[in-house]
Symmetry: C2
Amino acid sequence: MNNKLPSTSRSLPIALIRAREGVMLPIREMLAESGITEQQWRVLRVLSEHGPMDVGTLADRASLLFPSLTRIANSMRTKGLLTQTRDKKDRRRQLVEVTPAGQKIIDDNIDEAAQIAESYRKKLGDEKYEQLLDLLALLDPNRRV
Amino acid sequence: MNNKLPSTSRSLPIALIRAREGVMLPIREMLAESGITEQQWRVLRVLSEHGPMDVGTLADRASLLFPSLTRIANSMRTKGLLTQTRDKKDRRRQLVEVTPAGQKIIDDNIDEAAQIAESYRKKLGDEKYEQLLDLLALLDPNRRV
DNA sequence: TCGCAACCATTGCTTTGTTAAATAATATCA
DNA sequence: TGATATTATTTAACAAAGCAATGGTTGCGA
């Protein structure tokens, strides 16, 4: 039909979607039991890893767009997983923090999440796994090197 | 804070998101001029590559979920890019086909799309590019081997 | 210090992702 | 044949993506 483009089965964007789909499947199953989404889990993980931070930094680290994060944080706040307070020094900034309820969800899932991550490393082998992460980083537009 | 999980900056799911973000940026810019979305472009490409097919096969090849595809096909039909007809032999099936207007969008963009794809191949180098596609395929849950 | 650009975050709008349930047509088999 | 399972697709409902526009805040230069 045409041969200008690589066949969709060897298309980079589609391959990235499918890989992500595969990787997220077990994680989503796990999180469903805690009643949170994949994105909410990312928010919790980033906050747990670095402590409280403003919305902009959080969005960047969790790879979420500002508007998405605003809404996600809203729903997480009403669920009691997060608190959000205005920064005294710069009143434009909102400081986001995990509540004990949020921390509990992290604690409840972190071991299983680590196992899942480990299973993918085993599946590819250490070397290929690192290689993959390196290659993916090359495609990251605003790499935080 | 915790060391059970890989830091979010070396997390496979996040790396996949960011890479995709980077790869799609120029493609989305291109498609905006034609007034179609990334997903609509995937639908057009798959149909152009394989010819008319039923909704299920199309969804699979374009990596879209059924409900998404139903809506996408609807809007593309009202835009006159697609036609959808019931299969005579199995009246459950819907056969989707590209219209001349849809084909025009493909023709208008295919060269630039090929250039973009090529630019990523160059960016990584042939060998690493193929390697990346192979690694990603390993993560694809329902790989069409 | 006034005015304006830059910055942080939110809101509005449309499209897509995701899961579950509904609908409709066909296949199976007692 | 007729009840039942299976298959193909659509609807419904809610969460999130993505883009543009808005609303407060701060910073800076004339």
